[in-house]
Subunit: 357 residues, 2 copies
């Protein structure tokens, strides 16, 4: 099968052996798989993965120096159920999503970060049959593919402990920052103040529910918050994830601010603890989501409680994934690009609202 | 009057003009004033104060390049009430403590961090009469002088949100770490695991209520916690405050750990956010206490609910403050040294339990 392989720090298209379902597995045909910022990070910063593995055990069996197929934001059609799948709630032909964990024997494999099992940048892949959720309500495959990144946004909002009456400041409107804006708006939080360098993404943030959106080079986000509010308890969502941003937030935030760190900064970063101390800042790092949040996100998309279509800006075939990675370096060009194995190789814009499947 | 003055990064004894009480002030004679680690920090790291002032407004009117008299852990006898003090709850001859803030006209002056008003390393000083609390129960002046640092410990424990059933890990057993141990023990938290390089302070930590105390060079604190518990939710109290310790805690802590940052690291510090993200660490910076916590601390000491005597290891006259600052660089030599204006200059050990006043 065709797959986009991460090899020695670059994306290359290649032919791989067909995956063979083991106990508890579903063999599925990928219909779409979003390209995640963390995939771009992983390709660039593979050397930090060893640090993470040592500290956490996460990704311990994954060697980024060897070939791997990324892709953990997939939606797929079930082709075949493997052995030991009696009683699972899915059948051949179902369109499904799942949390990206493959149970392989006694091992939990993070899908998309494994040398042994392909992620969603491939024609076919293996999923844990018991973890698959059928896509309901005839929801199209493109919106369904946003379940995973939107679940990250929901988890960030949940983990922040924001309450009605608090103000929300979203620093950075990439896919995660925008997902956070969507969930904050769905919860009626006001004001939602967002900052972002890219005009296109600023427009999207406003469309998705931010009440005030600023270019931080023209008006710092905390100034914008003081202009429109300045009184409420502040929850800051840091969704940039580059060195220096954390220190800037700590320096600029009001006393007692809570900062939810959703941006994944792969490099060591420097802060001034004394500033944090005097203001009694709270920093909450957030990661992923739980299975309940994942299922809740799929339901919210399928029922129309949140609209993810504006986030989907392009699609690309497997042979074009390398180009799409390059294109995503420009925040003005795209927000979420979907890899669709049956699409032409070239990266093609989608008009915001994809057709039903 | 005689005072220990911070001048150009050094402590020098000098004669200063007598303070004159303004509206709302009490003129008091200092009986004892603890030397705080933050005073040692301030002397060494005055250049960072501008950063803090810019980010927070705290200390904005304070220029550490000019002379100042530190000392914010004082207990004092009221000599005279100034104008506009009708109805205050104190009278001449009362032994009092107060939160270290002087109301001077429209200004709030942080006592001990001002070029205009002397702190407690002086024979006499001005306090906000309405903020003074008489020391109750005939409590001796030495124990009463521990109100302020013990209030810092209480605030750290309160701010951490620790609950019965959680495990507490105290990293560093200086005065603040030990104060935290005292309050955790008073709240019945178990286990309390503490780490500290100095044998003397390890002995004190155990005496004050820590269940397990380790030398981190022999057994890392998280290993000690896993040995005796390993199951409970973990709250870590970082009470060291040197560069690198935060990253070590984040790297070693279990997933979902909450870290209360009570150590005041004056220098920029480097962390690896990715490790924090994957473990969803929470970092809560804490600073000071509120007036209710301050009063609660005095009451707890006066009623014998907590015992602070073991923390008091020496006293020194005003002319010996410079030597005491040097001595406090050795964690084995002392824990809390009290400046007593009527004591001989030489730093003298106190046997742990001071006599009544």
């Amino acid at each position: 099968m065709r797959a986009a392989v991460a090899r020695a720090g670059r994306m290359v298209a290649a032919d791989l052996p067909e995956p063979e379902p083991g106990d508890g597995h579903a063999l599925v045909a990928v219909k779409a798989c979003g390209i995640c910022g963390s995939d771009l990070h992983t390709l660039r910063h593979a050397h930090h993965m060893l640090d993470v593995a040592e500290a956490t055990g996460v990704g311990g069996a994954f060697d980024p120096e060897l070939d791997y197929v990324m892709g953990h934001e997939y939606v797929a059609e079930v082709l075949e159920l493997g052995p030991a799948t009696d009683g699972v709630a899915i059948a051949s032909g179902d369109l499904v999503v799942s949390i990206p964990v493959l149970i392989a024997g006694m091992e939990l494999v993070p899908i998309g970060f494994s040398n042994d099992f392909a992620g969603g940048y491939a024609e076919r892949m293996l999923l844990t049959a018991g973890a698959c959720i059928p896509v309901p309500n005839g929801l199209d495959h493109r919106r369904a593919a946003l379940t995973e990144p939107m679940a990250v946004g929901l988890h960030s909002v949940n983990k922040s402990g924001i309450k009605p009456g608090d103000a929300a400041l979203v620093v950075g409107c990439g896919p995660i920052g925008l997902a956070i804006v969507v969930w904050l708006a769905a919860q009626g939080i006001e004001p939602i103040v967002a900052s972002e360098l890219s005009p296109r993404r600023r427009t999207l943030a406003a469309e998705l529910g931010a009440h005030v959106v600023v270019d931080p080079r023209e008006e710092p986000i905390f100034d914008a918050w003081r202009r429109v509010d300045g009184m409420r308890s502040v929850v800051v969502y840091e969704a940039v994830g580059v060195p220096g941003i954390l220190d800037t937030v700590i320096f600029d935030a009001p006393s007692q601010a809570r900062v939810l760190i959703a941006g994944v900064c792969m490099e060591p970063d420097t802060i001034r603890p004394l500033i944090g101390v005097v203001k009694e800042i709270n920093l909450q790092f957030a990661f992923g989501y739980d299975p309940v949040e994942f299922a809740e996100t799929l339901r919210a998309i399928a029922e129309g409680a949140i609209d993810v279509a504006p986030l989907i800006t392009g699609r690309v075939g497997i042979d074009g994934v390398a180009d799409a990675f390059d294109a995503l370096a420009d925040p003005e060009a795209h927000v979420k690009v979907l890899v669709e194995p049956d699409a032409p190789a070239d990266l093609t814009p989608l008009g915001g609202t994809p057709p039903g499947h």
